[in-house]
């Protein structure tokens, strides 16, 4: 159901944008916004790229990449915050 996935992706995008615009979660917002981005990336990977049928181990490596990219942003952000305060 690509259309249902698309709807979820759009809803997630608007939700994370709302969290950002209204500063809903304070310092936690970065963690939530980046986590939502990673969940969206995983949805695209599994349902749009159909990575389950990818040759070899690409699905595993791509999922790992999503985790690493999200971790770099989250860890980098909170380390910076700790340094400032």
């Amino acid at each position: 159901m690509p259309f249902a996935i698309w709807l979820i992706l759009i809803a997630c995008t608007l939700a994370s944008f709302d969290i950002f615009e209204r500063r809903l979660l304070g310092p936690l917002s970065t963690l939530v916004i980046v986590t939502i981005a990673a969940v969206k990336a995983r949805l695209v990977l599994r349902h749009f790229m159909e990575a389950a049928q990818a040759p070899g181990n690409w699905r595993f490596l791509y999922e790992t990449w999503i985790f690493v990219a999200a971790a770099i942003i989250v860890i980098g952000h909170y380390v910076a915050l700790m340094r400032v305060t």
Partner: protein, 201 residues
């Protein structure tokens, strides 16, 4: 069979690929993965530089308009969905559906390009160039490299749109379109991270 109008949308032939086959080719998945690793390094260097100049990065970021980022995200997600529809149409041998879905995906791509040009122009008119400070160097570099990915993807989408009739007699067409799809979805996924990295975090 050679004229697009004479080709019905649901014929089957023995040359069709089976759905259970693998998606795309190994080489394309490898190519995209190499690109992913390069972007991981760019993200890492950005976050490391940001550690040392946190206040500069935050104050520069406040000059970006996140509405552009939001629109870019919505447009790319929509185009990704349209490309999935085109790939599924190729597997069941429906060239007209492929052509319309890819055309709509290209319209989304053009909207992305237009939005980027408007955004760059607005930033430059405000006096923010790649030489202004490290944040804007990263901003222009990352978004421009991503922009080139979008343009490259559009060239491939257009080439497959023009040859959509080939899905009826060539399994290679469907595999090729899957490759284009994987690349296009990757460009989308990349933006899903670039948007929070530059605009939101």
């Amino acid at each position: 069979m050679n004229h697009p109008d004479s080709a019905p949308d649901a014929p089957r032939s023995p040359t069709f690929r089976h759905d259970q086959q693998q998606i795309g080719t190994d080489g394309l998945w490898l190519f995209v993965f190499i690109d992913m690793v390069i972007f991981t390094l760019i993200f890492f260097v950005f976050m490391t530089e940001r550690l040392d100049e946190y206040s500069l990065f935050k104050s520069s970021q406040s000059h970006l308009n996140e509405i552009f980022g939001l629109c870019n995200t919505l447009v790319l997600l929509t185009s990704s969905w349209l490309v999935v529809e085109a790939v599924h149409a190729a597997r069941r041998g429906a060239p007209k559906i492929i052509a319309t879905r890819l055309a709509l995906a290209l319209v989304c791509g053009l909207m992305f390009v237009a939005s980027k040009i408007i955004e760059y122009r607005a930033k430059i008119l405000l006096g923010f160039s790649p030489a202004t400070n490290p944040f804007f160097s990263f901003y222009y570099f990352i978004t421009f490299v991503h922009f080139l990915h979008v343009v490259a993807g559009m060239v491939f989408l257009n080439s497959y749109r023009q040859r959509s009739i080939r899905c009826l007699d060539s399994p290679a067409y469907t595999t090729g379109l899957e490759n284009v799809g994987v690349f296009w979805h990757y460009v989308d996924v990349l933006w899903l991270f670039i948007f929070p990295l530059l605009y939101l975090v």
